[in-house]
Subunit: 397 residues, 2 copies
C-alpha cells in the first residue's frame, strides 16, 4: 500500500505586524517561523494505523477494519478538499472515544489526522497501513501556528502517500519543495485540518506553513509576498497564558470607548505593515544594514501601538527591556497579553549578545529560541537532512 516512508516538515508562523488591527480591516503581515513540525509516515504493521505524537503524549493505534467503516460515502475528487461537516466529525469523535465537547490539543490533533487520512484515501477505497510519528519544535497553544504546521505536514505526507502529489526520493542530506500546483493542494487539505482544529480559521497559518516566506493578509484575502529574506530572530514565549478572545474584545471595547483616539492608531499600524513589506522585498533583492534599522523602528512603534490597544503585558515589557539592554528590538506577536514575542537579530548582532540575551530571557522564566523567519514552507526530507535529535525521536516510533 504505502510505497515508502515519507518525511515532511512545515514551519510555524508569527505575525510580524498587524495583529489585532487585522480584525478591523487593516493589513497584517504573517511570516514563517523556522521552528518546524516534522512528520514521518512509513509502511506500518499490516492492518494497523498507528500515530505517535510524543509532544502531546499521544500514542494510538487502530485496526484497519474498524477504520474502513468510517470511510465517507462521498467520493469527491481529491482536488476539492472536502469541508468537514459536523456529523462526520461527531462520528470520528465517537470512534476515537473523544467526548463531544473535548477541545484539547490531543483530541483535536487525533480528529484532524483521522479526517484527512480518511478523506484523502476515500476515493481509492483503500486505506494503507501506516505508522506516523510527529515531532514539533513549536510550543502548542502559543499562537505560533503549531496546529497549521501539523495539518500541513499531515496533508503533504498523506497526499504524497496517495500519489496525489509528487513523492520522488530526495537525495541524501537534501530537502525538496513541491510544485506550486502540489502546494495548492497541500494547502487546501491543510485548511480542512485547521477547520477541524479551529472551527473558523483565517487560512493564514496553513498558507504560511505551506508556502513559507511572508504573506499579506487583508480582509480575508491572502497574498504571498513574491520574495522574502530569511531573518534571524529570537522567539520568546513568556508562558503567560492569555485568551485571544478576551484580548480581541478588549481592543474592540477600547475603540468603541475612544474612537477618535483609537482609530488613528489602527490607521498608523496599516502603513507599518506596508512599509515592512516594502523593506522585506528590498532585502530579498539585497539586504542592507539600513533595512534592519527600519525594521527595528517599525517593531518599536508597533509594540507601543499594541500597548495603546491594551494587549501588552508586564512580561512583554520585560522582554523588550531585556533585549533592548543588548541593543535588540522586540515586539509581541499574535494576541499579546503575555504569549510570545519576537526579537530581531541583525548582521551586526554579536553571537555573545545573542547568548547573553537568551540566558537573561530564560532567567525571566521564559522559553527562548534562536531561529529565523521567512524560512521555506513545507519540505520533503531525506532522513539524513534531519538533525540527529529529530531523527532520533522520529526513529523511536
Amino acid at each position: 500500500m504505502l510505497a515508502r516512508e515519507c518525511i515532511v516538515s512545515a514551519p510555524g508562523k508569527v505575525i510580524l505586524h498587524g495583529e489585532h488591527a487585522v480584525v478591523h480591516g487593516k493589513v497584517a503581515l504573517a511570516v514563517s517561523l523556522n521552528l518546524r513540525t516534522y512528520l514521518r509516515i512509513q509502511p506500518g504493521a499490516a492492518g494497523r494505523v498507528s500515530i505517535n505524537m510524543p509532544n502531546i503524549d499521544t500514542f494510538l493505534s487502530w485496526d484497519m477494519s474498524s477504520l474502513h467503516a468510517l470511510l465517507p460515502a462521498s467520493r469527491a475528487g481529491l482536488q476539492n478538499a472536502v469541508e468537514p461537516d459536523a456529523a462526520v466529525v461527531l462520528k470520528l469523535r465517537e470512534y476515537a472515544g473523544l467526548g463531544d465537547g473535548l477541545e484539547d490539543t490531543r483530541s483535536l490533533a487525533v480528529l484532524a489526522f483521522l479526517y484527512i487520512y480518511l478523506s484523502v484515501f476515500a476515493e481509492s477505497r483503500e486505506l494503507p497501513s501506516l505508522t506516523m510519528a510527529v515531532w514539533s519544535e513549536l510550543p502548542t497553544g502559543a499562537g505560533l501556528g503549531s496546529s497549521a504546521a501539523f495539518s500541513v505536514c499531515l496533508s503533504a505526507a498523506l497526499l504524497a502517500s496517495r500519489g496525489a502529489i509528487a513523492c520522488s526520493a530526495v537525495e541524501a542530506g537534501q530537502t525538496a519543495r513541491w510544485s506550486d500546483e502540489d502546494l495548492e493542494l497541500i494547502n487546501k487539505w491543510a485548511f480542512q485540518g485547521e477547520k477541524i482544529i479551529h472551527g473558523n480559521p483565517s487560512g493564514v497559518d496553513n498558507a504560511v506553513g505551506t508556502w513559507g516566506g511572508a504573506l499579506r493578509y487583508l480582509s480575508g484575502k491572502i497574498k504571498p509576498l513574491s520574495s522574502t529574506p530569511v531573518l534571524r530572530i529570537l522567539l520568546t514565549n513568556t508562558r503567560v497564558p492569555r485568551s485571544t478572545k478576551v484580548l480581541v474584545a478588549g481592543v474592540r471595547d477600547k475603540i468603541t470607548k475612544f474612537p477618535a483616539i483609537m482609530n488613528p492608531v489602527l490607521e498608523s499600524i496599516d502603513p507599518i505593515s506596508c512599509e515592512c513589506e516594502r523593506i522585506l522585498m528590498a532585502m530579498a533583492r539585497g539586504p542592507e544594514i539600513q533595512h534592519y534599522r527600519v525594521l527595528e523602528e517599525l517593531i518599536d512603534i508597533n509594540q507601543h501601538h499594541l500597548n495603546v490597544m491594551g494587549v501588552g503585558h508586564p512580561s512583554l515589557d520585560r522582554l523588550c527591556q531585556v533585549s533592548l539592554a543588548h541593543g535588540l528590538h522586540s515586539k509581541l506577536t499574535g494576541a499579546g497579553g503575555g504569549g510570545c514575542g519576537i526579537t530581531l537579530l541583525t548582521p551586526d548582532t554579536d553571537s555573545s549578545v545573542v547568548e547573553r540575551s537568551i540566558q537573561e530571557l530564560k532567567d525571566c522564566g521564559y522559553d527562548c529560541w534562536e531561529t529565523s523567519i521567512g524560512a521555506p514552507g513545507v519540505l520533503h526530507h531525506s532522513p539524513s537532512s534531519l538533525t540527529e535529535d529529530v531523527l532520533k525521536i522520529l526513529n523511536s516510533y
Copy 2:
C-alpha cells in the same frame, strides 16, 4: 517710595497632553503646577536695589544713580508692555557685567529683573529703593515653567509697588487674587520677562503662571479652561538632561521619514487632549472615580504615543514602571528624553502607596514631589500664609 512689602507667588506649569504634537498644529493642555515661586519685595536701603535669589546663588546690589542712567527714553504707558529690543538688552547686559552670549539661568534672571523693574517705573521716572528675595520650589531648566513663574512674580510685585494694580493688605493667614484686568496686565509684563529669558516663548507658561488652572493651546492661541479641578500628582524629575531642540527636531525627522505612520499618531494625540479637557470640566462640576480612570487611560495612551515619537527615555520607562507597580499611571511631561514626568494620584490612592512610590522613585536617583495641578495662578500673600520654611528663607534676605 515703596509703601510696604509685597509677597507674591506663582505656580509652575506642566503639559498634561499634547507636548510635541502642539508643534504640529495639535491641541496641548497646560496646567498649573503647585510648586511655586515666591517673591517678596520690601523697601530697601535708601538709594539701593538688591536682589537675592538663593536658588540660583545670585545676590546683587546696585546703586540707584547708576540705574537711573538706564531708564528707557520712551515712556510708553504701562498698559502696553514694551517689547524688549536687542539694544536695550545689550545695554542691560553691559550694566550687569553679563557677556553678550551668556544664556545661563542667573544672567537671564538678572536681565529679566532689570528689564521689568526699569520698564514698569519708566513712566514715573522714579525708581524705588527695594530689596527683593526670591525662593522657588521649582527646579530650573526642567521644563516646569520656572522662568515664567519668576517673571509672573516679578511683574505682579513690581506692578503692585508701582500702584498699577491693586495692592491692598491681605488678611493674616490669607492669600488674595487679582482682578481679571490686573491679571491681564501682570501676564503682559510677565510675557516680556519670558521674552528676555527665552527669546521666542509661546506665552503658555506665563499664562498658566498668571491664571493657574488649565489652558488649551492651539496654533498660537491660548484659551484658559473656564474651570479646572485641583488634582493631586507626583512630579518626578529624572534629572536626565535633554535638549528640547534636539528632541523636537527628532520628532520632525520621524514624521518626515514615516509620514503615513506618524501623522495618525498626531491625529490620535489631539483627541486625547480634547477628551482630557472634557473630563477636567466634568470633574470641576463634580469629580467621580470614573473620571480618574479615564485620565489614567489617557495618560497611558499618550505615554506610548510619546514613545512612538522617540521622545521617551529608559528613565521615564522606569518612572512608569515603578509607579504602575503601585497602581499609579505616569507620563512624561514636556520635551521628554529624560526630564520630568507626572503621576496621577486619585482619591483611592492610599497615603502609604504615595510614600512608598516617592521613596522608590528617589531610590532611582530622581527628585520627586507630592504636589497638585490646577492650582491657582499668581497670588498675593500675607506673610503668615506662607509655610514656615518659605517665610524663613525670604526673611533671611
